[in-house]
């Protein structure tokens, strides 16, 4: 933020702080929220605005006569939000980059892209206050975005099991009766319970208290 203020050219993962972003979200219809440029711009806008707001609040604290460390402490709420927004943008961009660089079949890429779009849309929905606060996005657009989220859930639901199969984690490494590849959950929960240490004896050690108590 300080370097942006001084006009220095930024490089690296914070270069967006200097980019000319649209002041308003350009989505006009629901499906626009599937576009990478629209989604990434929203994250860039959010990160830039909360970073700059944190810098502004820091400046105001200093102007009040507070020392730098006291000003910093008084701005933790803004600063942590700024760091989170910056990291969230990094994850969204990395996800899109990962999807765009795959050479899998079209159905597989489509599945991954749907997941990526859902990740980005879900994050905006969860943090919509940041974008509504400065008027970047309006209530109507949020409604379209959340409708798109629901449509994506319906697209991903039928392939959910295949998606998690693709993590390729064998049962022995997953170590979960509920998550077994064969889905035979209930019979194996029963087998697992029978092996529990408390089931080694029909009458537990605690009977030394139970027995006399019942006879009292």
């Amino acid at each position: 933020a300080r370097q942006v203020g001084s006009g220095n050219k930024l490089v690296g993962c914070a270069a967006y702080l200097q980019s000319n972003l649209s002041p308003r979200c350009l989505a006009k219809r629901q499906t626009d929220f599937l576009r990478q440029d629209i989604l990434v711009d929203a994250y860039k806008h959010r990160a830039k605005s909360v970073v700059m707001l944190a810098a502004k609040r820091m400046g105001e604290e200093i102007k009040k006569g507070h020392s730098q460390p006291v000003a910093w402490n008084n701005c933790h709420m803004y600063l942590i939000k700024a760091a989170m927004a910056h990291c969230h943008l990094y994850c969204v961009e990395s996800f899109f980059d990962g999807v765009n660089s795959t050479d899998a079949s079209q159905p597989a890429v489509d599945a991954l892209m749907s997941l990526c779009q859902l990740y980005a849309i879900f994050g905006i929905s969860q943090n919509k206050g940041d974008l509504l606060q400065d008027g970047y996005i309006n209530g109507e657009q949020i409604d379209m975005l959340e409708r798109q989220l629901i449509d994506l859930l319906a697209i991903i639901r039928p392939i959910a099991v295949t998606l998690v199969d693709s993590y390729d984690i064998p049962d022995k490494m997953l170590s979960s009766v509920l998550g077994r590849y064969d889905g035979n959950v209930y019979e194996n929960l029963y087998e697992w319970a029978k092996k529990a240490p408390l089931n080694k004896k029909e009458v537990p050690a605690a009977y030394k208290y139970i027995g006399p108590f019942l006879k009292e």
Partner: protein, 439 residues
């Protein structure tokens, strides 16, 4: 195969292995990973004597160390030295637990390689690689965590004997938490305030022998122990360490970047943050690891949610698969998306780390502030999201998610320490914010 889950797989429009290749980075890598995993999964010496949920903490510690040593033997026999392949192999041996001796192969070795001179490396690197000694990384103290400058352990140079005297001057200066410190390791990289010629030169790293290589007893002047039962990590002897005027040779200071000459003259490092370097690969790796922890939770919740049926979605029909309810989809599908995002972001982060490391090895430290800020923030962001995500996925399995049979209790308690280790998350966010304010 349960007919409900079989039906789901018949609906698939693509072969899941295609996405496996994307995640692993190509077909060859997937095949190599599967081969290495099969070496573990088909080797009875890696089997647990019983379900770890049924073991005591001491049984788990002993079993975990046994398996870690077996990993060393087998990986040497199979001539596996690639870091990623070693991670795959170890992960297969410890499905739900963090593997024992993992700090030896991560931060202990990383510090030797990145913070010691070539001469020092010739002494320690080979011994560490051959496991002639077992090490850990002792930074955190009982009363001090992420704030490095607050550490109290001292290393005072004595030019007469050319030794450092390592000392714990207060109760709060005891080293507290390092993995395998309590009962397992023989050596530690110790972070201590360096004093020479009467001046404090800040925190530096020292190679400190802790236990006899013959008897495994602590050396005189070294007090060691386990810190006791924890929320998770039941197989790991996280330890405490107290020094009482314990002496080590001058050559045991990590001197690649800053040095103490025999007469006590201090030579400062070229960049003030180079000594923080050992944290960077771990923080970078945490990003991808969190994605994998969440992935495991997603597998469990998704598969269970197509087997479990509950209530009538349409009155008068069969009980519905719970994944058919939109509310269940909202609990699970965003977490699937998030796990993919974090796995791919983790790959990007590790690439950035290795690129920066190559630059730093050539004396260019310009990327260090961005790497430091990014790895700190992403570690905090991803670990926090995964902690809440795993809890949401556990709850999506109803009551059975609370049983250890589900895997969630071990999965959760193994994943959530990432929110506090290698830098408490709020402090990490503030470090990222500091960088953002500067730029």
């Amino acid at each position: 195969i349960n007919p409900d889950i079989a039906e789901e797989r018949r609906n698939a429009k693509f072969d899941p292995v295609e996405l496996t290749y994307v995640i692993d980075g190509g077909k060859e890598k997937t095949e190599r990973r599967r081969y290495l995993e099969s070496e573990v999964l088909n080797d009875p010496s890696f089997d647990d004597p019983m379900d770890i949920s049924f073991m005591t903490d001491e049984q788990r510690h002993t079993n975990s160390v046994r398996k870690a040593i077996q990993v060393v033997r087998r990986t040497q026999e199979l001539e596996i030295s690639n870091p990623m392949e070693l991670i795959w192999f170890r992960a297969a041996t410890n499905p739900l637990e963090v593997p024992s001796l993992s700090l030896h192969t991560s931060m202990f070795m990383t510090t030797i390689v990145n913070q010691m001179t070539l001469e020092q490396r010739s002494q320690w690197e080979s011994a560490a690689k051959k496991f002639e000694l077992i090490g850990t990384y002792a930074q955190t103290e009982l009363g001090h965590g992420t704030f490095l400058r607050g550490l109290e352990t001292t290393a005072t140079y004595d030019p007469r004997t050319q030794e450092f005297e390592i000392h714990s001057p207060t109760l709060t200066s005891m080293k507290w938490w390092p993995g395998n410190l309590g009962k397992t390791v023989t050596h530690a990289i110790v972070a201590a305030q360096l004093y020479t010629k009467g001046h404090c030169m800040g925190v530096h790293m020292f190679m400190v022998p802790l236990r006899s290589l013959e008897t495994h007893l602590p050396h005189p002047g070294v007090e060691l122990g386990d810190i006791g039962p924890k929320f998770g990590y039941s197989n790991i002897d996280n330890g405490f360490l107290r020094f009482n005027h314990y002496r080590i040779p001058r050559e045991n200071m990590c001197m690649r970047h800053s040095q103490v000459m025999p007469d006590g003259t201090y030579v400062p490092p070229p960049h003030k943050k180079v000594s923080y370097g050992s944290m960077l690969p771990i923080r970078s790796a945490i990003v991808g690891n969190t994605g994998w922890a969440l992935a495991k939770g997603c597998i469990i919740a998704t598969r269970y949610s197509v087997v479990r049926r509950q209530s009538e979605l349409i009155p008068g029909t069969k009980e519905a698969k719970i994944l058919d309810y939109q509310s269940q989809q909202l609990k699970i599908i965003p977490n699937i998306a998030t796990s993919f995002a974090f796995i791919l972001t983790g790959k990007e982060m590790m690439k950035t780390y290795f690129d920066s490391l190559a630059e730093m090895n050539e004396g260019n430290f310009s990327s260090l502030p961005e790497l430091h800020a990014t790895s700190a923030g992403l570690k905090a962001f991803t670990s926090a999201v995964v902690a809440s995500g795993l809890e949401e996925l556990r709850m999506s399995c109803g009551g059975h998610g609370y049983s250890k049979a589900s895997g969630f209790p071990e999965l959760y308690t193994t994943a959530v320490p990432a929110t506090t280790y290698e830098g408490e998350n709020t402090v990490m966010f503030l470090q990222t914010a500091r960088y953002l304010m500067k730029v």
